[in-house]
Amino acid sequence: MTLDEALISVDMDDIIDRMTAYAISYFKYTGIKQLNGLEPVDFVADVLMKVIAGVRDWQNANCSFEEFLFGSLRSHLYNFNKGNKHVFVDDEPEVSDNNRDYEFEDQKNMVLAQLVELGADNCEIDVFKCWLDNMYKPAEIAEQLNVDVSTINNAKKRLVRKLQNLRTKIPDIL
């Protein structure tokens, strides 16, 4: 598929909306408030213009057009984040695997407790635990939890709103 065909085949309005919502969510989660006078949609615009101009080359990428656009936006946001020094700390002290697992369980429990405090119900907590096990697809999560996909999707919507505030509540953990 050519770029022209890809552009015609997608609902660009919907993609701009989803990418903008993702950028807003990213800035909220990472706590970045200073956008150098830009708005989240400006980051989306920058990425889309670069893709169309061929600066970011989808033709040679090995993924769908939408995945490529989202991946490019993610990379653009990471770079902005780095430039603003909000990056996740890299200089964690060396710890053994056992200690690391113990530490992770400890941190996970604190995050779960905070989610409960923010009003997360059992389904949201279960979905979040699946995410921590690297399971993100609604169908897979639904099968794992033995509920229907729409229940998972609704829980995810509620959870995403809570996550945006989570990091500011427990900055020492996240």
Partner: protein, 127 residues
């Protein structure tokens, strides 16, 4: 700070927005944006995207047409074969069968509906 938990949340958010439905997104955007202003920016962006896409297409068209024109002038076999094949596949292009009489505009008309990336790749690999 847990990099592992942060990465899981980051991946989850990415996957959520990649497939989220329109109603959910509308609700989320309305919570954070002045929608009238946002719609105005979005309209402007769509216009710029269309203009850039047209510009890119025209530049590719010009580049390919120039390469075909040069190949016809110099009698280079392979690009001529590619052009003949495009004309042969589309009966409405039969009037362009005399290649030595073609102007750059004629060549652009012949190739404008083709896959220009493919055509340029073919031209570059044949050179």
């Amino acid at each position: 700070m847990s990099k592992r938990i942060n990465k899981n949340i980051d991946d989850a958010l990415f996957n959520f927005y990649l497939v989220a439905d329109k109603d959910t997104i509308s609700d989320l955007l309305a919570e954070d944006l002045d929608m009238a202003l946002y719609e105005k920016k979005k309209k402007n962006l769509r216009f710029k995207l269309k203009a850039e896409a047209n510009k890119q297409k025209y530049e590719s068209l010009l580049k390919a047409a120039a390469q075909f024109e040069e190949a016809i002038l110099k009698g280079v076999d392979k690009p001529i074969a590619i052009l003949k094949q495009i004309i042969y596949r589309n009966p409405s292009l039969a009037l362009y069968s005399k290649l030595d009489k073609l102007s750059k505009e004629d060549i652009m008309e012949i190739i404008k509906d083709g896959n220009l990336v493919d055509i340029l790749n073919q031209l570059e690999s044949k050179e």
